[in-house]
Symmetry: C2
């Protein structure tokens, strides 16, 4: 991986240089400097049934410097490219917010700022990911940091050897950027990813990762890019199946959907983040009956029902009988149930019974 990562850095630098060279050539050749940028609008987002990923279609647009409608975005893209180049040269990283401040300044003799809002620099970075075919992380721009992991894995990271099985009650804090991590030893049969840090502490205290020889990983709410990449890398490089544990509500299902198929807003990067074989472990509407959890139903609000209807129509769920049945049952329940409700069956019911039996009986959805 170390070599692989160095290759990635070299690739990123090369692609950034090529971009610069192309623009200089345009100028020298007295052409209007231009960039070809794949279109990231909804109209160019497709679900590819073969890869089972939400990806971008083939449409692209040309962005010119000498064009009043293009110049702002053109300059922003070149600015973030210069910042990425600077970061790679000094081998440092910046957060999205920091990049925004780094490039924000007033163009001399005008009252025009290169960027006024972070939204603009974010979009420029996303465009740059496409133009250079390098992920934001490869370009040394980090997203959010959140989440913990524990299990029988030894990694090497920034010169330190870290054993995820020997980190007390806290576990390893997952960085925003996991590209440089080398997996030295991976002794686990699968990964359980859960939506909430409180569930992670439950499973960790109950030593689930030890008993089931697995890894446990969580962030809070929607999984960060760092967490998604970590899951994907372990899944691809070490063939670990990924099980997802979320609340039975449309938001929980959406978290699973994004982990598995990618998202519309990050469609251009699905390949580097999504796990089309991720398994849905729970909660399911069938659990509610089996474990008598109906009394813990929290009534849907209108916004939940709308979200559920959206899910039902997603292309990647539309033709799946199992999922349509699942959604139908959810609608009949008229409410959501949280994972934490399993504690009504016993402090460690989720760890000692729910998870091991589900996995043993292969009771997961896909």
């Amino acid at each position: 991986m170390k070599k692989k990562h160095k290759k990635k850095i070299i690739e990123a630098k090369k692609n950034l240089k090529n971009l610069g060279k192309k623009l200089v050539d345009d100028i020298k050749g007295r052409r209007n400097p231009s960039l070809i940028v794949p279109i990231r609008a909804l109209s160019n987002v497709v679900f590819d049934p073969k890869t089972r990923l939400i990806t971008l279609g083939n449409r692209a647009s040309k962005r010119y410097f000498f064009n009043v409608a293009h110049v702002r975005k053109f300059v922003q893209t070149v600015e973030v490219a210069a910042t990425a180049k600077e970061l790679l040269d000094v081998n440092k990283h910046l957060s999205l917010r920091e990049v925004f401040y780094r490039i924000k300044r007033t163009i001399p003799h005008t009252n025009i700022n290169i960027v006024d809002e972070q939204k603009e620099s974010n979009k420029a970075i996303e465009d740059l990911e496409l133009i250079t075919d390098c992920s934001r992380e490869q370009l040394h721009v980090n997203a959010n940091k959140m989440g913990s992991v524990a299990g029988n894995v030894v990694i090497k990271d920034k010169g330190d050897t870290v054993n995820w099985s020997k980190l007390g009650s806290g576990g390893w804090s997952i960085p925003s950027n996991v590209e440089e991590i080398e997996f030295k030893k991976v002794d686990a049969d699968f990964i359980i990813y859960m939506e909430k840090a409180a569930e992670w502490e439950r499973l960790h205290e109950d030593k689930v990762w030890k008993k089931l020889n697995c890894l446990i990983m969580s962030s809070q709410g929607q999984a960060t890019r760092g967490v998604r990449r970590m899951l994907q890398r372990l899944h691809i490089e070490h063939k670990l199946p990924v099980y997802v544990l979320v609340d039975l509500d449309p938001w929980g299902i959406y978290i699973y959907s994004v982990l598995r198929f990618g998202s519309i807003s990050l469609a251009h990067i699905s390949e580097r983040l999504a796990i089309p074989d991720a398994r849905f472990l729970g909660l399911t509407p069938y659990d509610i009956e089996e474990f008598d959890l109906k009394r813990h139903l929290i009534k849907f609000k209108d916004v939940d029902i709308k979200r559920l209807n959206d899910l039902t129509k997603y292309e990647w769920f539309k033709n799946k009988k199992e999922w349509q049945e699942f959604f139908k049952k959810m609608k009949e329940l008229k409410g959501k149930v949280e994972l934490a409700a399993l504690s009504s069956k016993g402090i460690s019911f989720i760890s000692d019974t729910y998870i091991p039996e589900k996995i043993k009986k292969k009771e997961w959805l896909k």
Copy 2:
């Protein structure tokens, strides 16, 4: 600490048993079973200038079982006491949410639930903290898990020896409950606590903890109880000064205020969480001038101005000339500035210049 922690467990169990015994005695003596509960309403919250803590006053109320106005809260308090006893007996922990589900059930032959909302069990747990004089953590009920730490510290936790200086780019993930952690070696001169995980990654990548021989710690937004206890324990047990680094906005100042003096809603537990000597490192209105950050001002919204006015009137800031001057300057700026804006001065400006110079020149507020 190990012994100290065992003593705490024994103390918690004893206090819970005494509570139960008292109620049984009431019943045997044919008295109306009752609990004495200190009043946690705003009317009984005071700022103690001697301890410099927001604490509860002396007023308490008596809660009776045979009293239609009291019985619901009475039963809820006894229920969470029973759950805490169960947790201590099996040496496990539950989150607040899990405790809610654990005690939620319908009283036989009625349609009355012991609790309908988590708010009720939360309040019962807070009351129990006061009745037993044990913190929620001592009673094995955990709050949120969030945050990371790095630096020259070796701890022992759950049988593992964890070296905070050898954990790669991620750092140690701070658990929700830090009561059982033993500090084996603490080689640091102070702690820098920051509001945002992105700043933590900045400082970590720049090796600030190594260069300045300190610890760096963050959560995200308002500090969790786990983070606050960790800071307090290191501050008290190892005499480490705590520096706080937040955005220059009323919410950042409020985070500092809570870390230092405690909060109104958790006034009953300030002694176990607050750090009256915590130092405010930045951002300050003076930084905005000195480092020419005015162009990064984000205009206050009405809600920010209201919050700022509230801060100004807080008893613990009211008579402090330095803070009143600080707030006045903030009002003049009419906007907030984020820590991330320092990256406009250089990728590692915050790490290489801002923090070390501030600490060297003792430029902090108290």
